[in-house]
Symmetry: C3
Amino acid sequence: MTDKIALTPKTHTTPPAKFSHGVRKGNILQVAGQVGFLPAEEGRPPTPAGPTLREQTLQTLANVKAILEEGGARWEDVMMIRVYLTDVDHFAEMNEIYNQYFEDLTEAPAARTTVYVGLPAGLLIEIDALAVLG
Amino acid sequence: MTDKIALTPKTHTTPPAKFSHGVRKGNILQVAGQVGFLPAEEGRPPTPAGPTLREQTLQTLANVKAILEEGGARWEDVMMIRVYLTDVDHFAEMNEIYNQYFEDLTEAPAARTTVYVGLPAGLLIEIDALAVLG
Amino acid sequence: MTDKIALTPKTHTTPPAKFSHGVRKGNILQVAGQVGFLPAEEGRPPTPAGPTLREQTLQTLANVKAILEEGGARWEDVMMIRVYLTDVDHFAEMNEIYNQYFEDLTEAPAARTTVYVGLPAGLLIEIDALAVLG
């Protein structure tokens, strides 16, 4: 029997609902859909890093990373990244930010799927990730 | 060599097409996208549990659960739940139903991603799930 | 420590960005979102197999298959296929093509989720896949 562990980084609130920001069981780590909210502060409602795609993408990636690290994983362990955008016209800019962000990756980058969906008002990007630890 | 097993609960039809309602291979169990159809009855076309989000969400969760159990898994084994809604305004209500449904969960709840997409007419929610058995 | 290997079939370009067409680590193989682009040719920009759903679906499935095979997997190893369409009215035709394509499958077919999203102009279908090797 392997335990399933909820991953709650310090930058995140204790989940307000019956979901985990991330879970690890054995060598599998799943990160829940993250958006560009700034690190949680007591008494402040969830606040996006800013209105731009750049601000939100970098914050979203930071939020995913915090959960990976809480579970003992690195970006190098990630197999799949799902990117949800709200606007097809954001693809080129997201890709540029993404490529810069992962420039120093030392192993094969994750597979990725990008699709265009609806998100709550003001949010331009959501990302989740599946990692397999070594 | 580990066998891949198709999971077909009694509440579901034999799949009419080349997909499985769920599959298990080794300790990995994947549930296909479920919607709020009532348990299958011979001669009746697939019928949603009702027109409301509440009816469809509860039926969809029941349908996911039937497949998990067919494969020997419990909600506690689920790592990731993907929720597809058709309307951003449904999030709060879905969340309330979801939290009540999972109130008695004895382990870390699954990670979750919720996005807003198109679904066939009349369907308000679709859910799939990935489980890792202990 | 198990290595993560990038999967780049001959039919695909070296990824122009920090993603992999597919990755394998241990017995887990993830195929990135594929669309209906013809096999890559030096100096030609990515070109869809044609404007129709049939042409794009068959090419997309061929592209997924090439990555599976590059990683030593077969369709029989696939646990989950995610199909992204742009139009609910395309479901019946996609399903018919899909069922013909998988007619000779010798094991339980993969679970599947189909949702309707936005895709870049001219693209009607995107597919990704998760496989667990035996």
